[in-house]
């Protein structure tokens, strides 16, 4: 499942890169920090990026998950500190709602 989620995340980054002058590096994507001091997104763009991911997750797994919820934001270890952690968070959320793997 992690691989499918990763390809969704990469596709979303690619789509955003198309309209961005300063491209987000995707070569070492799992360690890419999304938000925070070393993050590639400001809050507003983070929300747009997460919306894209949510939309693709819905298409791929047939369920709605929220990546901008209180739960996501209040994690001790932020799911936005790296793509790896985001994938792990998505996996947990998908399991919770019983998505078809």
């Amino acid at each position: 499942m992690a691989e499918r989620i990763q390809s969704i995340v990469v596709a979303a980054l690619d789509e955003i890169n198309r309209t961005r002058e300063e491209k987000i590096p995707t070569d070492n994507v799992l360690d890419l920090c999304l938000y925070g001091d070393a993050g590639v997104f400001e809050s507003m763009y983070l929300v747009a990026f997460l919306s894209l991911v949510e939309e693709s997750l819905e298409d791929e797994f047939g369920v709605e998950v929220s990546l901008t919820s209180e739960k996501a934001v209040s994690r001790r270890v932020s799911p936005f500190s790296s793509v790896r952690r985001l994938i792990a968070f998505v996996e947990e959320e998908l399991e919770l709602v019983g998505a078809r793997g």
């Binding site: 789509e15 309209t19 507003m44 747009a48 997460l50 939309e55 919820s69 209180e70």
Partner: protein, 465 residues
């Protein structure tokens, strides 16, 4: 004043007051029906001062019942869609004695039960309690907010009728015919009805308010005046109804109930070149104000009503009118200032010479991490895209920026969701600030319109009305 109303109806005599299901009804017929219904209500024990629910949409019977109750100094509560919840709210706060249902087979009068020990006939204990004079007829309207219980708004029907009676009666029949597009339980609908009948005009009553029916009625009755909303006008043009039906009789289109975008107004103006376009402005609380649009192609208007004062406080329009509501029966009057200015909740911009433009509702402001946006401004830009047929912008809560901008778009032509998103992002680049670019773009088959002819802007969990 009651005598004056009856005298006018008698004078209009054989003129046509209504077209009900295609059948003409003269003023004499209407008066006869009013008389019958007054007798019927008296037989059922309806007494002056009592609140009476009138359930039904426009028909000869509902209109006649409205006037019968006015003449008998009752409190009229028109309700088009009577749900159990609405009835509960009304029973609790208006203590209506009777319910009149207007059906195809005539009227049914039903006595409403009261809680044990409650024998009073006075209105509820809300802020408006005691504000209606003993000799005055009342009108109760419900606010159409979808969250919480609707606000029960008390008006003096005497004040509303009195204001219309100040206008001179027409000197000839068929001088004014108007299609009742707005609802029977809506301030705009009541206003149109009184404005028309008290001066001898003809009100054409629709049954279903479908676009087909409305346009067919305009064609058949050579309608001169069409009171409507921006969303409704857009649907007429998008569906090419103005080509299917002959709408050339129209002389005046008034639009209100929701803000009009410049883009849409230009399109209406091009589609109906000889028609005067006039913005109406009003609220359920303050009634409808007479306005003057800067021009038919301008969304700027001036409030030119001797009965209405206005002021702008922190960008919000405040109104005070002679015919404004007396108060709410179930809420505090927190929307009224101490000196009885009504805070409309509409954000306006003041242009040259006192012309105003509505920017949107204060509660529709989308706040993206402190940056603010009103749906209308983004909708206006999106509607200039050749790929956008209609759209609705709204905010969605999130835990990162507070709210994010979302849009539902009905595209023109076949597009995938990904294509549409790509188009919107590219189309908006450079036209609006980055925070206004929607983070979520949904493709929809139709933009929903409420029975108040407004775009449905609220979304589950999205807050707002």
């Amino acid at each position: 004043m009651r005598d004056e109303l009856v005298r006018r109806f008698e004078d209009f005599g054989t003129w046509t007051a209504l077209f009900d299901r295609g059948t003409p009804v003269t003023y004499a017929d209407l008066l006869g029906r009013i008389r019958d219904i007054r007798e019927r209500l008296a037989r059922h024990g309806v007494v002056p001062g009592q609140a009476v629910i009138v359930h039904g949409d426009y028909s000869l019977d509902s209109v006649a019942t409205l006037f019968a109750l006015y003449l008998d100094r009752n409190v009229v509560v028109p309700v088009v869609t009577l749900t159990d919840k609405t009835l509960d709210t009304l029973v609790e706060h208006c203590r209506p004695g009777h319910l009149v249902r207007t059906t195809d087979a005539g009227i049914e009068v039903e006595e409403l039960g009261r809680p044990d020990g409650d024998s009073g006939t006075d209105l509820g204990a809300g802020a408006a309690h005691g504000r209606l004079g003993d000799e005055e007829a009342g009108l109760v309207l419900l606010s159409s907010g979808s969250t919480g219980a609707p606000k029960v708004i008390l008006h003096s029907l005497d004040a509303l009728v009195g204001e219309k009676l100040e206008k001179r009666a027409r000197r000839r029949p068929n001088a004014l015919n108007i299609l009742m597009v707005l609802m029977f339980d809506h301030i705009g609908g009541i206003n149109s009805l009184l404005s028309t009948l008290l001066v001898g005009g003809t009100a054409v009553l629709p049954r279903h308010r479908t676009l087909d029916e409305i346009c067919a009625l305009i064609e058949r009755h050579r309608i001169l005046v069409l009171p409507t909303s921006p969303t409704f006008l857009n649907l007429i043009m998008v569906g090419d109804y103005h080509r299917t039906y002959d709408l050339s009789s129209l002389r005046l289109i008034t639009y209100g109930t929701e803000p009009m975008s410049d883009e849409l107004l230009q399109r209406v103006h091009r589609t109906f070149p000889g028609v005067r376009l006039l913005q109406t402005f009003g609220t359920s609380e303050t009634g409808i104000a007479t306005t003057t649009s800067e021009s038919s192609s301008s969304t700027y208007f001036r409030i030119s009503d001797a009965n209405v004062e206005y002021r702008i406080v922190d960008g919000e329009l405040h109104l005070r009118s002679r015919t404004q509501f007396l108060g709410y029966l179930n809420y505090d009057d927190d929307s009224l200032t101490e000196d009885r200015w009504f805070r409309t909740g509409d954000l306006v911009e003041e242009g040259a010479d006192g012309y105003l433009r509505i920017k949107g509702r204060a509660k529709e402001v989308i706040n993206v991490g402190g940056e603010k946006l009103l749906p209308l401004e983004l909708e206006s830009v999106l509607l200039t895209s050749p790929l956008v047929e209609d759209c609705v912008v709204y905010g969605k809560p999130n835990a990162i920026t507070g709210q994010s901008v979302c849009v539902d778009i009905k595209p023109r032509g076949e597009l995938t969701r990904a294509d549409l998103r790509k188009h919107v992002v590219e189309f908006l680049a450079g036209k609006v600030e980055p925070f206004k670019v929607p983070s979520k773009i949904n493709m929809v088959g139709a933009i929903a319109m409420s029975d108040r002819l407004k775009k449905v802007r609220s979304r589950p969990g999205a807050g707002g009305e």
